[in-house]
Amino acid sequence: MKARNEIKATARLALWTLAWVATLALASFPSLWDSQPVASWAAVAASLAVGIGMIVAHARLLREMDELQRKIMLDALAISLGAGFVGGMAYVVADAADLIAFDADAGMFPVLLGIVYLIAYAVGNLRYR
């Protein structure tokens, strides 16, 4: 029963995540929204709303997981949050000091968080194998 609930919650999260990526892609497609700021704002708002749905789905999945899996996921989330803060600030400060050739890009933060989270989650699972 619990395993079935977890599978359903995982599937729901996957669907919300796909929907969020799709709305994000739509909102960031510049040629679609040329000279249409209202439509562009609507696309951004839709992406935000679907993103909130994804966050809620993630929280629900956490509640359905068993305690060890929840611990592994929460540890990975904590590490990725810390890495985001520390790594992100280092990146911004390096840009401000002209230590890097290119301007700091905000789009790097989700990439950094995602990569760190995946590594931390994999390491967590290996640790309790």
């Binding site: 029963m1 305690e67 060890l68 899996q69 309790y128």
Partner: protein, 64 residues
């Protein structure tokens, strides 16, 4: 935390998957508890003790 989970489980010819299903957790969790890598929460500890008809202190051994 040391425990008698593996011994009690094998006495009943249960696999880790069998015990996991009865306890409502993943096989990974049962393995982690048996190898001492993970200490269960109180509700799970009570649930496991109930499965073996034992008290918690008869199932989990205080390291100190």
């Amino acid at each position: 935390m040391k425990n008698r989970l593996k011994d009690l489980r094998t006495e009943r010819n249960w696999t880790q998957a069998d015990l996991a299903q009865r306890a409502g957790v993943s096989r990974q969790t049962i393995n982690a508890i048996e190898t001492g890598k993970f200490d269960p929460s109180l509700p799970l500890a009570f649930s496991l003790a109930k499965l073996f008809a034992l008290r918690i202190e008869e199932l989990f051994l205080d390291d100190q």
